[in-house]
């Protein structure tokens, strides 16, 4: 597959497409195995009346309901007025969005705890975070609007984002790219066998 990248010929494109499709199909079969594991876990909890087992009943019922509705009607995932999409919009979506929104609180408490000027490194982290925060909101303009251009929070924030940030990114990207290449190579050569459970 690696060489496909260099060969734009249509035959090569077709092979590529087929192989990708296959991985997706295999992925779906594996999902069934995953669901099996989920059911077995919760069944076990219910059967043994483990702590909090009634909640497992909630999971099982929700799973069964959603699967049945989803597979029953052919247009379940297209009809915005159907029960399936309603469950999606008013059960799944709000929980998803709210979990995400919890970050607003966590980011504040993490900043409070972690951003202490303990060492040079911690101080750099702290300063650049504070400057960028101020540089991105209107209130930063209030505070430094009287300064000449180039010295305002927004300008310094921009400088940090454009230059040191880019430098850091490039360094990590190059490292990651090489790492990915090395690991892919090991898999292709059959050297990397961790996924077989570490056995040789």
């Amino acid at each position: 597959m690696a060489f496909q990248y260099f060969v734009p010929h249509y035959l090569s494109a077709a092979i590529y497409q087929n192989a990708l499709n296959w991985t997706i199909i295999i992925g779906i079969f594996t999902l069934v195995v995953g669901i099996g594991s989920l059911i077995s876990l919760h069944y076990d909890k219910i059967a043994r009346r483990k702590e909090h087992w009634p909640y497992s009943v909630v999971t099982m019922v929700a799973l069964a309901l959603m699967t049945v509705i989803g597979l029953w009607s052919p247009d379940a995932i297209q009809n915005p007025r159907g029960l399936f999409m309603h469950l999606y919009f008013f059960v799944l979506a709000p929980v998803t969005a709210t979990m995400f929104a919890l970050l607003a609180f966590f980011i504040a408490s993490a900043a409070y705890r972690a951003f202490r000027a303990r060492t040079v490194l911690a101080t750099l982290l702290l300063l650049s975070a504070v400057i960028v925060m101020l540089g991105r909101v209107p209130i930063g303009e209030y505070m430094t609007g009287w300064l000449p251009e180039g010295l305002r929070f927004s300008d310094i924030a921009r400088f940090i984002l454009d230059y040191p940030n880019t430098a850091a990114k490039r360094a990590i990207y190059i490292g990651v790219g090489l790492g990915v290449a090395a690991t892919s190579l090991k898999i292709i050569l059959g050297v990397e066998r961790t996924w077989l459970g570490g056995g040789q």
Partner: protein, 278 residues
């Protein structure tokens, strides 16, 4: 000694007080609109200028990839861009490559088109969702009809008057991709890189740092980042009271409080003599 124990308490403060403060300072400004000035940045202005410079009737592609979880940041932005396009009598083609957002985006498009009295098929087209977006993007470079023989509502593209003679990216004046996912990379690599389409991105504030590099290298001509970018765009099209501008107050106040927390934390840290390891 008394002082030191006060600061010690500050350091050991229950995190839930912090949560409470953040909750309050975010909630209150939503109810009471102050209206902080929003400075327009060059990368947002570039998108506005591009759309402003297009002659009426040009086709702009506004692919939108976000789901309910990221809609809070990207929906105001897409609404502002769509309003701008429709108000300038430009035609819009839209897609959605995030399956969770397909219905959401359809609603946005329909509502805003209705605001400007635009007709489906004549003034805008919604192609909807197809899996494997990288392949779809490549195919769209050849012909929209290849991945999307029919639009979202099941009509054949050839039946839509707006799509006559519109085959691929070269018929599009510019693309403003509003994206909450790393799919933005595909737009850069394929639509802009391979097929040379003029591309601007609207992304979440988190992603924006990543995409500044592409702005510098000229692979995208503009960048709208997060709610702040949306607020700037709203300001440019003269809609200062829309949701992004209204939210900027809360965003500002919350930032100030987080910085206050950091400052207080540091004062406490130094007063208590740095003994505390965290």
């Amino acid at each position: 000694m008394a002082k030191s124990s006060f600061w010690q308490k500050v350091i050991d403060i229950d995190r839930r007080w912090i949560y409470l403060v953040i909750g309050i300072v975010t909630f209150v400004p939503i109810l009471k609109y102050i209206g902080m000035p929003v400075a327009v940045t060059s990368e947002v202005k570039a998108v506005y200028d591009m759309i402003e410079s297009l002659p009426p009737g040009s086709i702009v592609m506004v692919p939108m990839e976000f789901d309910p979880a990221t809609a809070a940041e990207l929906e105001p932005m897409s609404r502002a861009v769509l309003r701008h396009c429709f108000s300038r009598n430009l035609k819009v083609i839209s897609t959605a490559f995030m399956i969770d957002g397909v219905v959401l985006i359809e609603r946005d498009l329909r509502e805003i088109a209705a605001e400007y009295g635009k007709e489906y098929g004549q003034d805008y087209v919604y192609l909807g969702y197809k899996p494997y977006m990288q392949i779809v993007l490549l195919n769209m470079g050849e012909n929209f009809r290849k991945p999307f023989p029919r639009d979202y509502y099941g009509a054949r593209l050839d039946e839509l008057p707006m799509m006559f003679g519109v085959n691929n990216y070269s018929n599009i004046s510019c693309i403003v991709n509003i994206n909450a996912t790393s799919g933005a990379d595909y737009w850069i690599n394929y639509a802009s890189g391979r097929y040379g389409a003029k591309l601007a991105l609207g992304v979440t504030a988190v992603m924006a740092t990543d995409y500044y590099a592409f702005l510098q290298s000229g692979q995208i001509f503009g960048l709208i980042g997060g709610l702040k970018g949306a607020a700037e765009y709203e300001k440019l099209i003269g809609r200062n009271k829309d949701v992004a501008n209204r939210s900027m107050d809360a965003v500002s106040v919350a930032h100030v409080f987080i910085i206050l927390f950091i400052v207080i934390g540091n004062i406490a840290f130094f007063v208590t003599g740095r003994q505390k390891r965290l």
